[in-house]
Symmetry: C2
Subunit: 203 residues, 2 copies
């Protein structure tokens, strides 16, 4: 009776020693699994943000690119007509936002590859570098167009530039909408960069 | 003789086993030392870039903030005078670039702390998040002012906005200089973000 008890104690002792030996290993496996799951979650969120950014960038490009207004009255020699390519800044806006849209569409497969292989650090680094450059392009286009839209709405008495929005109301409304869409794209892109930075940390 | 040889062999065997046991540990120490040195190099480069960015941002702010030109001729009622605050976009530029300069000056101590403790990941993550937001602010200020400077140089016949640079040459030159300085700041800030991203990877 006493002997078997002693045996049981030894067995228990061994089991606890086994546990002690295995515990760090198991914890490491759990930890790496947790990190992989976390990284996968970040990658899925990256894809969702990226698709939203594609939508916003396309909306900005198309809204600005199709902006045109012809006033209903005209003289014998002249018809009043406003189009986005009358202002070089808006032409730059359309080109820049088209580049941003194209880049974002091309980056979606890379984002999906990031979901399939959450540990691929090179891929994430490539995305963060390109995203940062694209943030610069989108922000400068948005900022420049915002300055011109402000001028079109309010004019400037010191420089003797008159507001043109009294006549071209529809033109001003759609260019303002395009600028707002570009700023939404910029905010989404900044979130993408921050998300990638946070994902890189947990390596 | 043979006995001592055998002993020597056993000793050698032990030494080699010892080496085998220690080798990974030593390699790990070497590796972590290499990573720390690499990170310290990145942190020093970060500080240099940051100080250059401070100089560029301050140059942009001061150039734009002190821009003022009074034309040498005047009428009885009116003196022709151009200052940066005649145009709201330039006022925004001065405020935004002042914020950027202030942030960059305040971030220098954090960058120095990054040299002292190259492994501090939280610090680097804080810097990359703030840097990305500041990139957005600096780029939008630079882009908006570039659009207005372009308009001041070339005017726009469709909107009936006349070029004002024929009269205010000095005003236009210094605002153009400020815009160029702001774009240099933006490029340096983008490099800072990319550098932090690369430093985060090697964790």
């Amino acid at each position: 009776m006493e002997k078997s008890e002693a045996a049981a104690t030894i067995e228990m002792g061994e089991t606890s020693r086994e546990k002690k030996g295995k515990a760090p290993l198991l914890a490491a496996v759990d930890h790496s699994r947790g990190v992989a799951g976390y990284k996968r979650g970040v990658a899925i969120f990256d894809l969702i943000l990226r698709i939203s950014a594609v939508a916003a960038a396309l909306a900005a490009t198309i809204t600005m690119g199709t902006t045109e207004q012809t006033l209903p009255f005209f003289t014998q020699f002249f018809q009043f007509r406003a189009s986005y390519d009358d202002l070089p800044t808006f032409t730059f806006f359309v080109i820049a936002m088209a580049i941003v849209s194209g880049y974002l569409i091309l980056s979606v497969p890379f984002s999906i590859a990031g979901i399939a292989r959450p540990a691929a650090i090179g891929l994430r680094l490539l995305l963060i570098i390109c995203d940062t450059l694209i943030v610069g392009l989108a922000t400068s286009a948005g900022g420049a167009s915002a300055a011109i839209v402000y001028l079109a709405h309010n004019g400037n008495s010191d420089a003797n530039w008159l507001a043109i929005c009294q006549q071209f109301t529809d033109f001003c409304q759609s260019t303002s909408g395009a600028v707002v869409a570009s700023f939404i794209t910029v905010v989404l892109l900044i979130f993408l960069v921050l998300l990638s930075a946070i994902a890189l940390r947990k390596h």
